[in-house]
Each structure stands twice: as structure tokens, then as C-alpha cells.
Symmetry: C2
DNA sequence: CGGCATCCCGTCCGATACTG
DNA sequence: CAGTATCGGACGGGATGCCG
């Protein structure tokens, strides 16, 4: 019996990819955003196609809720569900770790630059 | 100024994919494993090609260390670095969340089965 | 405004076979 | 034992354009 990676695999599935984690994070902190507002808030460089697709996955997993106001012009809001909000437990930690890692990566960058220069000789 | 997803993106890069998180998790808990031992411990269905590739990435990021004993037959061990061990902060949380989510997903499965049956009519 | 359709590319992942 | 070589499919991600 392995009490190990029992749960890790499914979490990786849910949050994996470049965007789903960031989308969740945004919705957790902003609470209900319209489609394009969400889009602009994500570094600005996610295409609407990708955003729509990733949102669908999050909705399927029950983490995000779609509210269509059925107006013209259309107005649709996305909100994190109470259940989706529970992902904050690890997203928070991931964010903290990433901040530290970014500093470290910057330091290593100058190191690899040096080793690349050595290789080129 | 956004103090938001500043770090989350890089964490997603490091841990993303189907395997890297699981490999890290294993190495954190087992401390130094040989290539094939690690392979067998990962649900058994990762190919050696994929494992070798993912390990290289983890090594590049400074999270895992490769120790080659230079013997014949070859003996190579992989060990998580002290820095790599810091990822446990969020891997732990991800694992916990995944365990809960798995239960929830099982419940929803029966629900979607029902809705699929309805659609087919 | 909130998407979907199309096309395209790079990466992820896998199976199989082979080598030092 | 610890990988690499080769091939191939699936998926992620992006650009562009169109629609109700």
C-alpha cells in the first residue's frame, strides 16, 4: 500500500497547462469577472480561443461557474465556485515558491551564461 | 501593480506535465533512487525515454541531482537536491487536495453518466 | 461582447527497438 | 543497467478571421 502520490496525479491534471492555474488564481482573488476582463487581466496575451477552452475544462471540473445574463450585447461572467476556492490551498503555496524560484533562476542565468561562453571557446 | 500571479507561472512551468511532479514527490520521499527503481515506482507505466527526458529538465532546474558511479554495469542514482526539497511545500498541499477531489470526482461521475443517458434519448 | 472555425506549430507522451 | 534512436499520435498553445 502506497500512501504516496495517491492524489497528486489528479491535481496535476486539473491545474496543468500554462493557463488553468492562473485563471483560477485570478478568479479566486477578483471574484466574478467578465470574459474579456478576465482575458485582459491575464498578462494580456491569452487568445480568446484558449481562454474559452480552458474555462470549459474548469467548469467541467466544477471549479468555475458561468453566469450568462442573456442580454444583447452578451454579458457573461465567470465566478469561482466554493469548491474551486479550495484550490487556493495549494495555489497559494505554488505562488510563494515561484517567487523564490524566480530570484534563484535569475542568479543561475548569469551562471549558465558564463558556462556557455566557456563552451564556445 | 499586480502582486498576484507573480510567481505562479514559473511554478506551473516547473511542475507541469504528467510526470515531473510525481517524480519529484517520489524522490523527496525515497531519497536517492536508481533509474529503473524510480521507473518501477511510478505506477510502472512511464517509458524510459520519457523518464530520462523529465529527469533532465528537473536537473536543469536544479531540483534533482544525478550521481553516476561510473561502474560496469552502470549504476546511476537520482537524488532530490536540498533546493528541490523545498517544492514539498506545495506538492504536499496538491496531494491533499487531489485526494479530496478524487472522492468528489467519483460522485460526479455517476451524475454525468445520468446526464449522458438523458442526452442520448 | 463572447465566443467558434480554421490552420499551424511545437511539445508531450507512448511503444518499440537498440546500444555501451 | 541506463539510457538513446526512431516513429507516431494526441494535445497545448497561438494567429487570424468570422458570427450572432
Amino acid at each position: 500500500m502506497k500512501e504516496d502520490g495517491i492524489g497528486l496525479d489528479v491535481t496535476l491534471e486539473v491545474v496543468c497547462g500554462k493557463w488553468k492555474g492562473l485563471i483560477l488564481w485570478k478568479l479566486i482573488h477578483e471574484n466574478h469577472l467578465r470574459f474579456n476582463a478576465l482575458r485582459r487581466s491575464l498578462d494580456g496575451n491569452i487568445s480568446s480561443r484558449i481562454l474559452a477552452r480552458e474555462l470549459k475544462k474548469l467548469i467541467q471540473d466544477g471549479l468555475v461557474e458561468r453566469i450568462d445574463y442573456e442580454t444583447v450585447p452578451p454579458r457573461v461572467e465567470y465566478r469561482v465556485t466554493p469548491y474551486g476556492r479550495t484550490t487556493a490551498s495549494f495555489l497559494e503555496k505554488m505562488n510563494e515558491w515561484g517567487i523564490h524560484h524566480k530570484r534563484r533562476a535569475d542568479q543561475q542565468e548569469s551562471l549558465t551564461d558564463v558556462s556557455n561562453q566557456l563552451k564556445e571557446q
